[in-house]
Subunit: 266 residues, 4 copies
């Protein structure tokens, strides 16, 4: 009869994977949970770190306005993208990268409001410049398996938040984290941001937030788990319930939104 | 050029659907939320109804033992299956339906502990018998689009909990609910129990709990939303975080588990 | 450490499943392929049976017109639905079931053109009436796991075509087929008609045709595999390439379309 | 009531996308199909180009042995990876990259057997070296949305085969192709290699080959479509039927396999 043995790697994590594929990301004992401190904010402990800010650092005014709200409302880190992966090569006035200028504005907002900053990089060339400002480097979903880039990011020594690709298994995600850890960089945060599934409930919501991955990840890895409830839902009224659900499931928060949305997270 | 207009029904809900496809399930105004009372338990209001019990009513002893715990721990309804859709036609001692006998045991436990009972039916023939005991009829995932059966269930006049099929859109789910409502039966609960997606994080977890559907459903329907966190996860350690996340997302609870699991829901 | 052994049934077929879950559907040796004869048409052999016709038997004229084309173009069976699962309870003039009348028209077209007929049933009550006309009973996707109904269909003794549910695994599909076979009805055809996945390439195409399931099924079951290329694509220009691809993958054909479409299958 | 208008980009292609998001990838008229010549092999025309070879260029002997078979059996290009994205950072003897050495062996095999070569690059640094040997640069699934890398590849002027990411929509895929075209590089091939879906029919088959994307892509883009039937299936007996189905659906072929498999493609 046909041969069904799984001689090749499958889709789910096996006990052997914990030993051989991602020994550094794997828990050593059931209560093994790493606590990662970034500029006085502790991830993976008893606090509930909240990183908030706009999708894109569109202007100096915008980032200052939002940073003031982020600070006032008690969130812990300022987020905002100056480099953004855009699915098409053409830019318009509304949806554009502010790049070097945006990073500089983030740096000014950081100093002005005393907030650590997390921001995305997509290209090794910009790592040195971004590292002068960023307290945490974000590796976006689309770069999760860009291994040469993972290695370059890890070697900066900066804390890194690794977003799960929208099509990736937990196994592949931890494999990507292992590429960071094997470089000796121990400050790695994992961030769930939505997966590609048959039904997302709105034509504009391209992803489904996968909260089942929170307990699943905590069972096998000691790395802190962050959830981004805004990207998957892409619809403001759903962000608050999904943010609350994320925290209830055991995650920290990474949230994208303009002030009214940020306000709703109180 | 090619024609991309959506002349035919799509995958997501349109404003027109609310008027023409499921006007009875659709909200009439943003604060329109139905409250459904079943044996003194109110769904859709400020309470948090919890329905708990074993997957299958395996024996009289088992259901009595669990019912005692369900009562003691403060849950509101006793659940348990005497008729179960089994994916293969062969039975074994461990995984068998207790059918008429199981329904009778549920009735005895209901009387003994003063707990309303919810249980699944799969076949119109057994509706009269089950209705003598059940306070809520459960329509299982696999029967969500068995329309003649939906009609027969609705006509019993009993409250009904309609589980979402693991491959169904919110649009199809509300279409199925409309089949119940159009018969004049207004006591309909919707229950999310997991969807079929690429990654579930364990080979034994066949589904991913979709919590994004909770705010999505509440935006368009006035019917109460229940979540079953145990079927999708199929792994006891994940049930508590997913139960908490379900409540945080805005749902009521329907939980399957033996006493140790039930206990963990305190 | 956490326990990852698959003590419970998983998502994919195991060697043990072939022995214990669906021994009647499973192949006994690599070259075991059942040939099923229906009114002179042999499925599973060297012929390429094509079943064609309209989605719904909308009128006597329509079914006669299409049956004439089906016959003229050399297809082997006439298909057409008189009973159709409609996702919402409201009917309109364009999309309505013709029920008893439609079955009668199918019978007249069968006699007039000498074509065997395949048609769907959704309710046990209509089985005797439909069996007077139908040469093959179609069990639709939504009823694939409606087990009491599977049993009732099998007991008619008629050949049955079992459509795969759009969310079902190959394992669940063969489990459903086993419910038919265990009743002693050996004339079972399997029909792939599209699965629910993240991307279908048109808003109106709700499913993706899964052709990988054709060699996968042929590896484990001796039952003939049919593919319906029209339902998943839901877009006429894609039907011909997907029909050709289905045949190349090893399947028989079941095709829904009005005459221009049928013509394109030459 | 709730607002359902799609103000933001959705999941499927709209007529507007053809004009504004990927005007260079979009067809200008229904019969617009680009023909791309690479070392005498024409893609997108009436020929059926077949690219075959091993997954990895494991050794000089292996690639010479396979190249001899690829030539003898009439395939048109030699494929083989010297740089491979490996999901975990640890290497073993069996599954290792041969990198610069592998590229040199490919160059020797190319010269010896007169076969054009296609091979993957993952890192901009290696582009000049690889371009000395490769006739076509392969951009792998995981790098489909690594935009700075796409730009760097396009600027080499070499023909490029862009694999679809296993979670990407047709819309995102064409957006990535547009990043290549906008640099003035017109020789772009698209390659479908399997998508992440709920059911793949074997634990070791991580992807489902999406053949519906072939007619869907041909409806909107003039770029040639290639299918890789071996990566998704990951099971030799399924490769031949899926290769035949790919061709029947309208695609060219890119096939990974050791000699016995290559032989089966005759």
């Amino acid at each position: 009869m046909a041969d069904f043995d799984n001689k090749f790697p499958g889709k789910d994590i096996t006990p052997d994977d914990l030993q051989t594929k991602f020994p550094l990301a794997a828990k050593q004992h059931p209560e093994h949970f790493s606590r990662i401190s970034v500029a006085g904010v502790e991830f993976g402990g008893n606090e509930l770190p909240i990183m908030a800010g706009p999708n894109m650092v569109e202007s100096r005014d915008l980032i200052f306005d939002i940073a003031a709200n982020v600070k006032r409302l008690g969130a812990h880190c300022l987020r905002g993208g100056a480099f953004k992966p855009l699915s098409f090569p053409y830019r318009n006035a509304k949806y554009n990268e502010t790049r070097e200028e945006g990073i500089r504005w983030l740096g000014e907002a950081k100093e002005r409001f005393g907030l650590p900053v997390i921001t995305e990089v997509m290209d090794e060339r910009y790592l040195p410049m971004v590292c002068e400002v960023a307290d945490i480097i974000q590796i976006g979903s689309r770069n999760m398996q860009n291994y040469p880039f993972l290695t370059a990011c890890a070697r900066t020594g900066k804390p890194i938040m690794l977003k799960r690709h929208y099509g990736a298994s937990l196994r592949d995600w931890l494999g990507a984290a292992e590429y960071l850890l094997v470089e000796g960089n121990e400050r790695v945060l994992l961030c769930e941001r939505g997966v590609s599934v048959p039904h997302t409930h709105r034509a504009t919501s391209r992803y489904l937030l996968d909260l089942q991955v929170v307990p699943a990840a905590k069972e096998v890895t000691h790395l802190p788990i962050v959830v981004d409830p805004s990207h998957a839902t892409f619809w403001a009224p759903w962000v608050t319930p999904m943010a609350l659900a994320s925290v209830a499931a055991g995650a920290d928060l990474y949230c994208d939104g303009r002030p009214p949305l940020t306000g709703s997270l109180q």
